[in-house]
């Protein structure tokens, strides 16, 4: 077979493998034609199953040992493209069942003995208070913070030699990861998405995020961070359509030890797919009803407040 024919056959096979038939609306073709309910052939299986974060971490790391990733012009693994992964961690970082409200799923944590978030006793009390009193940031169209931004939406990653931009259609939120080696901004500048600085360790991008503002909660169970938290993420392409995403959360004021969650980010190969504007606050009206039944906007939580709260809790417990 000539090279051209081989390429043509390969191209057709690839097209068939990654594009499954979708009955698109007849006349109007949005740039992202979508299935209109007609049964479609099953899409391709990805390497490493999604059913468990522990499994995908182990499997992803194993594959990464031999996988040769596609590279950018400056020789780095190319993380660009459209991605999506399991979202259930935003419902509850721990294992939780399916209910009318939740999709349910296993614990997102991979390095704790029982999948339980290693939270200090005073912070567990505050978590329950958060859940009972405050509106989840997502309902008010605020941003998700780190790491929740990456289990809350559909993404596009854009990579240049000096930047990895993580776009999310969900409320148009974005994170900008700086790869140019410059230092973090001053610690008094606290931000919803924090300040992220990344460097390559072999073929893994390691991103350190500081300067979060202690407002976004990690899940809808009220789990929280202070403005002193440091989150370290690792992005590793382990096959052409999958990234192993690991995030280690370190906030010693709140948790008894750092803990890590793992998610498989899968490439969205639907042809013509684009992120579109998802204005959120402009049309938001749920918070009015939430206020009517007693919820309020979360005021955030600083390291200073955490120390005071912990001390007060321990004084009360000592009596």
């Amino acid at each position: 077979m000539s090279t051209r024919t081989s390429l043509l056959v390969l191209g057709m096979a690839t097209a068939l493998a990654v594009v499954w038939a979708a009955t698109a609306p007849a006349a109007r073709q949005a740039p992202a034609p979508a299935a209109a309910g007609a049964a479609a052939p099953a899409p391709p299986e990805f390497v490493c199953p999604d059913y468990s974060p522990i499994a995908i971490q182990a499997c992803g790391r194993e594959h990464a040992k031999t996988f040769k990733p596609p590279r950018t012009a400056d020789g780095k693994p190319d993380l660009s493209g459209y991605w999506g992964g399991s979202q259930v961690a935003h419902e509850d970082l721990e294992a939780h069942p399916k209910t009318p409200d939740d999709n349910g799923g296993p614990s997102a944590l991979v390095d704790v003995p029982d999948g339980k978030v290693p939270i200090q006793p005073w912070a567990e009390a505050k978590r329950l208070e958060n859940k009972a009193k405050y509106i989840d940031q997502n309902a008010q169209c605020f941003m998700s913070g780190v790491p929740r931004h990456l289990y809350m939406g559909a993404y596009q990653f854009i990579q240049t030699p000096t930047r990895l931009v993580l776009l999310s259609e969900e409320t148009n939120a974005y994170r900008n990861v700086f790869l140019d080696g410059r230092p973090h901004i001053g610690k008094d500048i606290v931000l919803w998405q924090g300040d992220s600085r990344g460097r390559w360790e072999g073929d893994t991008l390691v991103v350190e995020t500081r300067n979060q503002n202690g407002n976004p909660r990690l899940d809808q169970q009220g789990r929280f961070l202070t403005d002193e938290a440091v989150v370290t993420e690792r992005f590793t392409l382990f096959e052409s359509n999958s990234i192993l995403y690991e995030a280690t959360v370190d906030d010693p004021l709140v948790y008894t030890r750092p803990f890590t969650l793992a998610i498989g980010l899968r490439r969205n190969v639907r042809p013509g797919y684009e992120l579109w504007e998802e204005s959120c606050y402009e049309g938001e009206s749920n918070s009015k009803y939430l206020r009517n039944i007693g919820y309020r906007t979360y005021p955030g939580f600083s390291g200073k407040e955490a120390r005071a709260a912990k001390e007060a809790f321990e004084r009360r417990s000592a009596r």
Binding site: A34, G37, Y82, E169, E277, S285, N286
Partner: protein
């Protein structure tokens, strides 16, 4: 709305595997809605607000005493509808719909989070392709 949202967001995400979990509600439904029961209302659509994060159907419902109540039905995000080829002008005017959904925990609000919105012929509103388009 839960099913519609799951399917719609799955399409929006281009969920390429059966294994990938469908998108969940972007904020906890249970905080705002009573997910322990379903309510059914039938009425006439007077307008639709195509906004994010939710579109809203405004439905006039005649209650048992014959009075018209104005209900707001929380519906899919516009992008999920746009991607399926629907446009803002496609809403069938004065359509009668039957809505099944979770009621608001705010008892003063006539608001439903729609699980299912059906037209009189049994078709689900905004599923499949736009009305009038031949397959």
């Amino acid at each position: 709305m839960k099913n519609t949202l799951v399917i719609a967001r799955a399409i929006a995400m281009g969920c390429v595997l059966g294994a990938v979990v469908p998108i969940a509600a972007h904020h906890s439904l249970a905080a705002e809605f009573d997910v322990s029961r379903m309510v059914t209302v039938t009425g006439t659509i007077t307008s639709m607000r195509w906004t994010n994060p939710h579109s809203w159907l405004h439905v006039d419902v005649r209650n048992a005493r014959g009075q018209v109540e104005k209900w707001e039905i929380e519906f899919s995000s516009p992008n999920s509808l746009y991607r399926r080829g629907w446009r803002r002008t496609d809403l069938p005017p004065n359509s009668v719909v039957t809505v099944v959904g979770y009621p608001s925990r705010d008892k003063s609000a006539k608001v439903l989070s729609a699980s299912d919105v059906k037209l009189p012929d049994g078709r689900t509103l905004f599923a499949g392709m736009p009305a009038g388009e031949t397959p």
